[in-house]
Amino acid sequence: MKQGGELPWWIASIGVALGIVLLWQVAADRGWVSPIFLPGPDRALAALREGFAAGGDLTLHVTTTIEHMLYGWVLASVIGIALGALIGSSRRARDYLGLTLEFIRPLPASAIAPVAIAFLGLSQPMVLAVIAFGSVWPTLLATAHGVASVEPRLIEVARALRLSRLQVMFKIALPNAVPDILAALRYGLTVALILAVVGEMLAGQEGLGHRIILAARSFRSPDLFAGVILLGLIGFTSNALLAVAERRLLRWQGR
């Protein structure tokens, strides 16, 4: 429920953000920080414009990164939900696999990159493999948890109605897991973006990750900042879109 007084605060907050940008501009103009690694916002924006203009390559790189992120994330989500549902619904599976999953969970996903490189070389499949590996765990664990934690009373209702195992999975267990799954999907997308950047930095072909490392090596800081800003935008937009979808799908929670 929005109070009438929220709008002024929003405007003031935007003002603070603009103030920070202004400070940034001043710092760059006055040379407080070397322009080699802190270009002013004006130069960063110029680099953005040039990059998207006719001869520029930003469109290609942005598209590549978004594709990497989405393909890897979708693949990971499908696998994660399927496996998670299987594991969550079977007490034996949980007993046998629990420890293994516990061990894999805290492993930095990027650490799988050298292994992926060993098997797939510096290629697109390698990038996708790294992204998928990192994004699968949040979804898998959340699905398993959601499926395993159905309200016991609902299980009895299912027994009283004599629902088949398949019906219980699709009408009760999975819907029960949806809130957890949606949160995990949102987190998984963040991970996917990070790993897309990591993969691109390593594979050295296309994508914003590669582009910004290249810009750093050539000391072209406006291009570098342009890329970073774009990555921030991709992260922001994808998260916001999922948040909207999440709110719509969870209308029944009565918030």
């Binding site: 929003w10 990070i194 950047v197 990555l231």
Partner: protein, 253 residues
């Protein structure tokens, strides 16, 4: 005592891998039999490289956690206690937060070159956010009655923070700290894998590039163990320190 079920799958997998590699007589640049991995692990342990790399990674992670986490905590206290300040900072926070910390690696590289400062800077940035976001929620969620008590007793600001605010929010702050710690390790390793030539991440990449899969997997498994161990340690600490309060804090998150 019954054999723990959780160990069955890993042990079977190891045994199967060992058997498969031995029987096929395969010499590979990508995988190695578990026995070779164990030997590589022992070697790396003995000649000090493993421990040195671990020290480097954990050192960078800890420094970043302290700097970034500390800054995040300070801002969390400020924003948590002052709703006005929190509302003012919403847009800047929402604008900077989605920037993936890895995206800042090239910038840090330009500024500081290879080495510790650059890695610590990135880890700091990454650890700042969980401490800020969760910490702010923890502080803002303190029982208002306690803050009124502080006002009535006319405590100075430092006293208020030290005697009332921090202790009251401590269980949830610890949860934030646990998350930030996990992030610090993950980001440190990521920086090492992509660019920085030190620590466990670099060790992993080196082993892969030198086509030494046994050493690579040894480092990987060790990294997994370190991550898991760190997490388990903090979880234990949380249970000892906070008991039931800690469980409630987890739920609310």
């Amino acid at each position: 005592m019954r054999f723990p079920r959780g160990l069955v799958v890993p042990l079977l997998a190891l045994a199967a891998a060992e058997a498969a590699m031995r029987l096929s007589g395969l010499e590979s640049d990508s995988i190695a039999p578990p026995s070779a991995i164990a030997r590589a692990f022992a070697t790396a342990l003995a000649d000090g490289t493993l421990l040195q790399a671990t020290g480097e990674t954990l050192g960078a992670a800890a420094a970043g956690l302290g700097l970034g986490g500390g800054a995040g905590l300070l801002l969390a206290i400020a924003l948590g206690l002052s709703p006005a300040l929190a509302r003012l900072m919403r847009v800047p926070v929402d604008a900077f937060r989605p920037i993936p910390s890895v995206a800042l690696i090239p910038i840090a590289l330009l500024a500081w070159g290879f080495g510790f400062p650059m890695e610590i800077a990135i880890v700091s940035f990454a650890c700042f956010w969980p401490m800020l976001i969760i910490g702010q929620a923890a502080i803002a969620g303190i029982e208002p009655r306690l803050l009124e008590v502080a006002r009535v007793l006319r405590l100075s600001l430092p006293a208020r923070i030290g005697k009332i605010v921090l202790p009251a929010a401590l269980p949830r702050l610890f949860v934030a700290f646990r998350l930030a710690t996990a992030v610090s390790l993950i980001v440190a390793v990521t920086v090492e894998i992509t660019t920085n030539p030190l620590g466990l991440g670099y060790g992993l990449m080196q082993a892969q590039q030198a086509l030494e899969p046994d050493r690579m997997f040894a480092f990987l498994l060790w990294l997994g163990l370190v991550g898991w161990g760190l997490n388990a340690l903090l979880l234990l600490a949380q249970r000892r320190l906070f008991g039931r309060a800690g469980w409630v804090a987890e739920e609310v998150r």
